[in-house]
Symmetry: C2
Subunit: 372 residues, 2 copies
């Protein structure tokens, strides 16, 4: 018997959680352009454009700058498995869920792990890194730029200096910051950096932009063992994205079309204007939340503009409010993760979702729902 499945029509949600963000129409349209082969000359030229635009958005000249064929977490894994060989000393800075996840992957790579930790909701102090590195011969220091679980924007410049004084490589998670806050790969001396498409680039989830600088490439080429993931092995993947176009795996064609258009929109707006838009609406949102009597989790000096962690008042039921927001206002915000579950909401203002209208909308909705 053949069961009948109906067509499906997901509702248009106002996406103000920790990602995905809303996707511009032209990106949606790109998704459904005709699929061509992954070795078609037409596709090869699209790949070049994507790499060129990714370099602009990452502010880097790094040749090996590509989208990994998986979501942001695949980017994290790609960065770590390529950087780490069994027995390498790796220092991971933890201020939330994504730092923890890095530790898990480092251990799976056979890295010797040391952790530097800070209270969730606060950034890592460069001195912590300095101290840790005096006694731990790290080859790699890994840190999250915008910690999506807390809403902390981690300053990187001082830490980068400390890391390079010790001849280690700096590996940065920029899943949430790329395209929404300043991130200057070359100027700041970041050796490896990965991101996701579904946050401030406002492309659907499915790809992970990644970039490897000269020191990272040197370490990659000096490896005495194969990268433990075949799928994410940059020594092989780069030959498909390089002049030889050696087939490795079939590229996710449609997603790369979408990323091309999403990047085109970022370049068209300009990075500086885009960062300013994120800051402006972030300030309005915070001001409005504070006028409602709500408190931010993170100190004003370290807030990510694109992800706003709001402390849930003690008399309010987290899940009920989020459910009503979704059902009555068609609006998604994020819950807290780990120790912050039930304690904060995470309100995203990412890329295409970062608008004055959305700020006004969420403030007005929260005002009604909290009866403030």
């Amino acid at each position: 018997m053949r069961k009948k499945y109906k067509a499906f029509n997901p509702p248009y949600r106002i996406l103000m959680g920790p990602g995905p963000s809303n996707v511009p129409d032209s990106v949606m349209e790109s998704l459904s352009k005709p699929v061509v082969g992954h070795l078609d000359p037409v596709f090869l030229s699209i790949m070049e454009e994507v790499q060129d635009m990714l370099r602009r958005v990452f502010m880097t000249k790094n040749h090996l700058t590509i989208p990994v064929s998986g979501t942001g977490s695949a980017g994290m894994e790609a960065a770590l498995v390529n950087a780490i060989e069994q027995g390498d000393h790796v220092l991971v800075c933890i201020s939330g869920v994504f730092g923890q996840r890095m530790c898990d992957i480092v251990e799976r790579c056979g890295g010797i792990l040391k952790k530097v930790e800070t209270e969730w909701g606060t950034p890592i102090d460069p001195e912590q890194v300095q101290t840790a590195l005096t006694e731990f011969p790290a080859k790699i220091v890994a840190i999250v730029h915008a910690e999506t679980s807390t809403g902390v924007l981690q300053p990187l410049q001082d830490i980068s200096n400390i890391v390079h004084e010790k001849d280690a490589l700096l590996l940065v998670d920029a899943v949430t910051s790329l395209g929404g806050a300043p991130l200057k790969i070359d100027e700041w001396g970041i050796d490896i950096c990965y991101s996701g498409t579904q946050k401030c680039l406002s492309c659907p989830p499915g790809l992970a932009p990644i970039t490897f600088g000269p020191l990272a490439i040197e370490k990659l080429n000096r490896r005495s063992s194969k990268v433990q993931s075949w799928y994410l092995d940059m020594t092989m993947v780069q030959k498909y994205w390089g002049p030889d176009r050696v087939y490795h795996h079939t590229a996710p064609i449609s997603m790369i079309y979408a990323l091309r258009e999403a990047l085109r929109l970022v370049v068209e707006e300009g990075l500086a204007d885009r960062w300013e838009r994120h800051i402006t609406h972030h300030h309005s949102l915070v001001q409005g939340l504070e006028q409602l009597g709500l408190k931010m989790l993170v100190d004003a000096s370290y807030r990510t503009p694109m992800l706003n962690s709001v402390v849930i008042p003690s008399n309010v039921d987290d899940a009920v409010i989020r459910k009503r927001l979704l059902e009555e206002y068609n609006t998604e915000i994020g819950s807290g993760l780990g120790p912050l579950k039930g304690k904060i909401w995470r309100i995203g203002l990412m890329g295409h979702s970062c608008t004055r209208e959305n700020v006004n909308h969420i403030l007005s909705a929260l005002k009604s729902l909290l009866a403030l």
Copy 2:
């Protein structure tokens, strides 16, 4: 200075290579439906439908049947890294590129590898497996069902019996066969099987359907070490695809929409009718090619219907013909891989690309180009 990038309009190609295949309009339309969050109740019900339909298409009751968030090669890696622990004996059957790729991954997993090989263009003989297993205590036997590099359809039933007599698990690559030729996971006793979306399912590339049977789950649960890939770790991924919906990584929402629609079309057509359509057009194609004086690489008893390997006549320039097909006929066919490079063409009749019109079209184009 802001560089201007233009909108892009890839041409509509007739995709008759080894994948991707052409994508039906309704699948394209699904791709661009509004993105919702990966924990949105609407999305959770789509996930359930996708799992339900995948089970029908794989012909299995396996609970752990999901799309991996990566292309077919990520499916291969997911199957192997979850199945293998350091020191496990793994027998890999090689009759082409994809068997070789499995070996590479087995070694990266720390598996103890033994190979059973056959000439490219011929299938593995069950006796080879039988013999190999008398002296090699394999926990896993890995084999490709439809070898995309040669066009051989590997019979599996006898090999499955041999493998299970030895208490090993059977791991099958069905990237090219799923939805185009009989593949009966439960009936044939396949323990782990993965596929891709861009072949006979005619969804764009980007996801890898995978299924784990009870014995595979038992081995997974008995592991004494973590799966070496965090991203592909089924002990974690299954908690997101299971009743608890524990966040693991952001699902590639739009691609899963597309897969849902592609699977809906497969279920609507019916597996038996779909297999028959592939056989019918395959026979017409072979007949037509032989009338043109061309020879098939593979013996008639072992041909994959969806991928037809044609021997390139010695006086013909492989690259020139493929280039002219692409430029003058807007049609893609595949070149040979590895030792078959320059020796064969691979003509795909996969899913939506498997039509009488396409058979007539490619025969007529080859007739003109080869001036036969």
